[in-house]
């Protein structure tokens, strides 16, 4: 903090303590031991205990302010007695005003909306180095803050300020102990040496070093390997901008720069003045008692108050009056001169007065423009003042903002005195302090005004947060036979029916046309019956734009409905970047990419499903194939969900058997995976359970007797209900594997699901190798949920393990009824071909977002095992056996 500490020799603080005598080591160990015991005892104190001690300490500080100030000036021969009284009072009263109502013991802050609480933990024993420039005020400040935070402090005072510091420590200590503080809570090193400091800085029982001083002390503190608050020197630039109130600025600068003869390191060092007000400003300075140096006098100052070798200020000038400095160097100034002002033409070694000067000598610079002024201020800031303090006088908010942006200072003081402004709580609402954090620019760990929170370890009590969940589905779902008649209630000027060729051929488009609201212009867009391609979507959007459609009816399976969802997205938000919207995410609430909410056009999307599996009529997902780039993108957002879903079984009565089985088992897989998902909720469970029951009951009938209207109707409902479940709870590993395998070997999605299903259930029902982190679930419940599904299906079993096995057996039986191939090998895929594909399959499955909600986190090796089990097939019994052996959780 002072020039004295900036002397280069202090940079050579030894980092070993080998030369300490055994007696000295015993003395230092005694201090640490007492402090450690005191700090330990102090941990038992309550907030009320602490506050009962702090108040009388503050009163003692105020009472002794004058006495301590006198002692400090007598001993150090620096500064102004009256100003030191003020500093002592600020260090007591203003600091108390800030800390008195603050909690520093136990829970100090509750943040209920984040389920967090902050708890104070004292540091223990601090080793505190105090400066020569502000000796007693710094001690008062640190003692009050230490007691408030239940810490013990060993002080090492600057040797030239030891007597006044040790007196301040004694006053604080005696008052604290008298009011209940533990004995040994403060101590002051007698005859401190650099070796002592080094020893204590490295001591294992010292929790924090609080070093207020020059760069040598700060560097030693930071080099010690201990946590440290190192607060070093500054070089405060001041910008006096042309819009400023010159009278106020000049008075403020004089107040600050002469306060305690300029010993506060935040005081003004170089004032950069706009050309337009430069002369008037200097006149005002002169009028109020400053001596404006001519060129010769400036050169004299440069030679005398700055050390030509080091470029630092001369210790002899620190804290001295302007008149004394003038007399000492032979400069003719009036007897009442407050300040010596030296015009300079630049910053750096060739302009010696541009450095920190902790005495009433101020450099001034005439700036040609705002840009010139800011550049010079930056130069001063970088000439030893990084991170410390800067000052601006201006009425121009734009200039003030710019100054704040370009100057690297922890405190940027506006229209007020730098030194007193930086101390806080007098001219502004900064936290009151006698230690200025200078950030990384100053080699410090903080830019804050150091105060109570820097003397605490603040612990965060983070309670488990149950994030909000949701159940989102289209708000209108019409189901059962002839539900399509509900189309008539949706008025439309122009409707586009998106469908595939088969729907037209078998007359389904005609049925839809008949039920659309009368007087609607209807256009039919027939697209290929395949996963939608970019090209197809583009054509659809062109059609929507051409007809200015206000309604889209998607009639078809998942591919058609997906295409319509993306067409709607691009129609309503032409700037939507599908590639970007498909960016992966882990949690919907925190996803990086947001779907557009502003709409250029608006169209209602009605989805009429013609298969009973994907449930795309209610899901927020759509898959797009980009053949040009050879890739697929999956879009997921609730804004993609259709506005209306029509689940009319008349459109599925003609589904071929194979498609019935494939889509039906897809529906069952959706329900089973949503049922055990980490995102499952009572809302999704009710849908999942219902869909599982419906699928087991009606899927065999729908498969064996396609004209069974009830079975068709119930499977159609089951698919939609399962989709409502997985739209909100997602799916799992089964889908991840099926996506990878189906894409590689061109196997229908439902069929791929069927091949994996028994193995994945057995896998999820066993003790996980790795649990999946999930704030939504309480414990591992997948096996129990499978057992509950078995109960609902009436499958019997006495234990969870038996019930899981019975569920697996029922699934095997269902798959047999649906005449599914029961192994990948049965599809005609050779072992060699499959083995070759395994690495790609595992990579693709692991990249698939589907498994992120799986109750068990899949290891890649486990994915390999699952794929091989599916290859060999008929694994249910075996898998169940393994589940039993693994043991349920």
């Amino acid at each position: 903090m002072s020039a004295i500490e900036t002397a280069p020799e202090t940079l050579k603080i030894p980092l070993t303590a080998e030369s300490l005598s055994p007696e000295r080591i015993a003395y230092l160990e005694g201090l640490v031991s007492r402090a450690r015991t005191a700090a330990a005892v102090f941990t038992q104190f309550t907030q009320e205990d602490v506050d009962r001690i702090v108040r009388p300490m503050v009163l003692a500080g105020l009472e002794q302010a004058q006495n301590l100030a006198r002692l400090a000036v007598e001993e150090t021969r620096l500064g102004v007695m009256e100003d030191k009284v003020i500093k002592n009072m600020v260090a007591s009263e203003f600091v108390y005003d800030y800390v008195k109502d603050k909690r520093t013991v136990g829970i100090i802050r509750e943040i209920p909306e984040r389920n967090l609480a902050e708890i104070a933990e004292p540091i223990g024993v601090l080793f505190s180095l105090t400066p020569i420039t502000n000796p007693t005020s710094t001690v008062l400040f640190k003692c009050i803050v230490a007691i408030k935070t239940r810490n013990a402090v060993i002080f090492s005072a600057h040797p030239k300020a030891w007597r006044c510091c040790s007196e301040a420590v004694k006053i604080m200590y005696e008052t604290a102990v008298k009011h209940g503080a533990p004995e040994g809570i403060f101590s002051c090193l007698e005859s401190p040496t650099l070796l002592d400091n080094t020893y204590l800085m490295k001591h294992k029982d010292i929790g924090l070093i609080d070093a207020t001083g020059g760069p040598g002390v700060v560097k030693a503190a930071y080099s010690s390997g201990k946590p440290a608050l190192g607060v070093g020197p500054g070089n405060t630039p001041v910008y006096l901008e042309k819009s400023a109130d010159v009278n106020t600025a000049v008075v403020d600068i004089i107040i600050s720069k002469t306060f305690d003869n300029g010993t506060i390191c935040a005081s003004e060092q170089t004032v950069v003045i706009d050309d337009e007000i430069y002369d008037a400003t200097l006149d005002k300075f002169a009028e109020l008692g400053a001596h404006i140096c001519n060129e010769e006098e400036t050169k004299l100052l440069e030679r005398t108050v700055i050390d030509p070798q080091t470029g630092f200020m001369q210790p002899m000038a620190v804290g001295q009056k302007a008149t004394d400095i003038a007399r000492f160097i032979g400069l003719a100034a009036k007897p009442n001169t407050k300040l010596l002002i030296a015009p300079i033409r630049g910053v750096g070694r060739e302009h010696p007065l541009s450095v920190e000067k902790l005495f009433p000598v101020l450099a001034v610079y005439r700036a040609k423009s705002v840009a010139d002024a800011l550049k010079v201020c930056i130069d001063v800031n970088h000439a030893g003042g990084l991170g410390h303090t800067a000052v601006i006088f201006s009425r121009n908010d734009e200039v003030i903002r710019k100054f704040g942006e370009v100057i690297n200072a922890g405190r940027i003081i506006v229209n007020s005195p730098g030194a007193i402004g930086a101390l806080g709580a007098v001219y502004n609402d900064l936290v009151p302090t006698f230690s200025f954090g200078c950030g990384t620019g100053g080699g410090n760990s903080t830019t804050d005004n150091v105060n109570i929170y820097h003397y605490l370890n603040i612990k965060r009590l983070a309670r488990r947060t149950q994030n909000h969940m949701w159940f989102r589905v289209p708000n209108q779902i019409y189901f059962n036979m002839n539900a399509v008649e509900n189309l008539g209630q949706f008025p439309s000027r122009c409707t586009i029916i998106v469908t595939n060729p088969a729907m037209e051929q078998i007359g389904h488009v005609g049925i839809v046309r008949r039920h659309v609201c009368p007087k609607t212009h209807i256009h039919v867009l027939v697209i290929p019956d395949a996963e939608p391609e970019v090209k197809v979507v583009r054509q659809g959007v062109e059609a929507l734009n051409f007809y200015k459609a206000d309604q889209i009816i998607a009639l078809g399976g998942g591919s058609v409905i997906d295409a319509a969802k993306i067409m709607k997205l691009q129609y309503e938000s032409p700037d939507a970047d599908l590639e970007e919207l498909a960016a992966p995410f882990l949690d919907l609430r925190k996803r990086v990419v947001e779907y557009p909410t502003e709409k250029a056009n608006r169209a209602r999307l009605i989805a009429i499903a013609t298969t009973s599996g994907t449930g795309s009529e209610v899901t927020p997902f759509a898959v797009l194939t980009d053949k040009e780039r050879g890739r697929k993108v999956t879009l997921a957002d609730y804004s993609l969900s259709p506005d209306v879903a029509i689940v009319d079984p008349q459109f599925v009565m003609s589904m071929p058997k194979g498609l019935t089985a494939d889509t039906g088992i897809d529906c069952l897989t959706h329900a089973l995976e949503a049922g055990v998902s980490n995102y499952a909720s009572p809302y999704t469970d009710s849908s999942a359970i219902q869909a599982i029951q419906l699928a087991f009951k009606y899927l065999p009938a729908a498969y064996q007797n396609p004209q069974d209207e009830e079975a068709r109707c119930m499977m159609h409902n089951a698919a939609c209900i399962a989709a409502m479940a997985f739209s909100n709870a997602s799916v799992g590993v089964n889908h991840a594997l099926a996506h990878a395998f189906g894409a590689r070997f061109r196997v229908a999605h439902g069929r791929a699901n069927a091949l994996m299903l028994p193995h994945v259930i057995a896998y999820n029902a066993a003790v996980p190798t790795k649990f999946m982190p999930s704030p939504y679930t309480q414990g591992y419940v997948a096996h129990r949920k499978y057992a509950s599904f078995a109960d609902l299906l009436g499958l019997g079993g006495d234990t969870v393990e038996q019930k899981v096995q019975n569920l697996l057996a029922a699934i095997e039986k269902l798959l047999d009824q649906l005449e599914f191939p029961r192994s990948i090998a049965e599809l005609g895929i050779s072992k060699e071909e499959f083995e070759k594909a395994i690495p790609d399959l595992v990579k693709a499955a692991f990249d698939d977002p589907s498994w992120r909600s799986n109750p068990r986190m899949p290891l890649m090796t486990e994915l390999v095992e699952l794929l091989w089990k599916a290859y060999h097939g008929r694994g249910a019994g075996k898998a169940a056996e393994q589940a039993r052996q693994g043991g349920a959780v």
């Binding site: 450690r36 005892v41 004995e183 040994g184």
Partner: protein
């Protein structure tokens, strides 16, 4: 297999108001103790620096005589104080 029960040769209840004197007295009585001694801290809510010193001295003497010292009923706060001054390693704790 034979199980040898440890014998508590001395048991001393420490009162909140007299921690220091009680520990000093207990220290003096260690001369007559063999094997194990127990200090009951269940009535003590806070411990000060002098009591800590006395406890440290007590532990030292007990250690020299090969006596195991059991502290019973120490609150978590007191246990933390002993931990901070690294004194907890000199004792066994039972609740």
């Amino acid at each position: 297999m034979t199980v040898h029960m440890a014998t508590t040769a001395a048991f001393l209840k420490i009162e909140e108001q007299h921690v220091l004197s009680a520990l000093q007295q207990a220290g003096a009585k260690l001369e007559n103790v063999n094997g194990e001694t127990a200090l009951d801290f269940s009535s003590v809510s806070r411990i000060d620096a002098r009591a800590l010193q006395a406890l440290e001295e007590f532990a030292r003497i007990a250690h020299e005589k090969g006596i195991k010292v059991v502290i019973r009923g120490a609150s978590v706060d007191i246990y933390k104080v002993l931990k901070l001054v690294k004194l907890e390693r000199s004792f066994s704790f039972v609740s």
